[in-house]
């Protein structure tokens, strides 16, 4: 049976693997027939900033760059509905022009409704 799934990301990108790994998890939910939304809250909203650069430095030493959360979002933007909590975005002074295209801001009452309406809420 198809389920409505919210994946809520509270952790900022790069300090932990959580934000990056939440995106393919949400995309796979859609592939399996569920409806998935991914909502960035708290420090998680740093993932919505465009222009992320993830290289550590010389590839001869580091082999490859750390995967970009922005790329993972962009890759799945048609599949998963992406949101960010507006008050947490404002708190961190992230302007609308800095946000990756396709991510919508939502209010706390809207997030509350989404949580109540969903069958599953997974919090990273």
């Amino acid at each position: 049976m198809s389920k409505k799934v919210n994946v809520i990301v509270t952790q900022p990108p790069y300090g932990k693997e959580d934000a990056f790994s939440a995106v393919p998890l949400a995309a796979s939910q859609v592939a399996a027939g569920n409806e998935a939304s991914l909502i960035f809250v708290s420090g998680g909203v740093h993932s919505i900033v465009k222009g992320q650069k993830t290289g550590y430095g010389d590839l001869a030493v580091w082999f490859k760059d750390v995967p970009s959360v922005e790329s993972e979002i962009t890759k799945n933007i048609e599949l998963v509905s992406f949101f960010a909590l507006d008050r947490d975005v404002t708190k961190r002074n992230i302007s609308d022009s800095e946000i990756i295209s396709g991510i919508k801001k939502i209010t706390l009452p809207e997030l509350t409704d989404m949580i109540l309406e969903a069958d599953v809420n997974l919090v990273f």
């Binding site: 049976m1 198809s2 389920k3 799934v5 693997e17 959580d18 790994s21 393919p24 998890l25 995309a27 796979s28 939910q29 859609v30 592939a31 399996a32 027939g33 569920n34 599953v120 997974l122 919090v123 990273f124």
Partner: protein
């Protein structure tokens, strides 16, 4: 015995905090109530079922996990999947304890669709 099904997604490794032990107690309690339990081990949680753990100060999480999964031979059953991208990244794909299947996020999506409840313990 009920026909209820619970999927538990874990993302943390053992020992650093108590979260995994809480997850085990929860799973055990669910099985005692006759609920079928699915374990999806993601990210660092793929180390939970690593074979031959021998902690000196803590209960051996692999043994506890394996016991809960093996009890799945009888009803209510427990199935366990470890995410292949995560096990490969950590070099533990071939070291998973008996009863753990190597799978992917699509399997979690299917379990989510089938389960009465899906929770993530992080």
């Amino acid at each position: 015995m009920t026909d209820k099904q619970l999927t538990i997604v874990s993302i943390n490794g053992p020992y650093r905090d108590e979260g995994v032990f809480t997850m085990m107690r929860l799973a055990h309690a669910a099985k005692e109530k006759g609920i079928t339990v699915n374990f999806f081990n993601y990210l660092d949680a793929t180390v939970i079922a690593h074979r031959d753990q021998a902690p000196k100060e803590f209960p051996p999480i692999e043994t506890i996990f394996g016991t809960i999964v093996k009890k799945g031979i009888k009803q209510p059953k427990a199935d366990a999947i470890a995410c292949i991208k995560c096990t490969d990244a950590r070099g533990v794909t071939k070291q998973q304890t008996e009863g753990v299947i190597i799978g992917g996020l699509y399997d979690l999506g299917e379990w989510t669709g089938e389960s009465d409840k899906t929770i993530l313990i992080g």
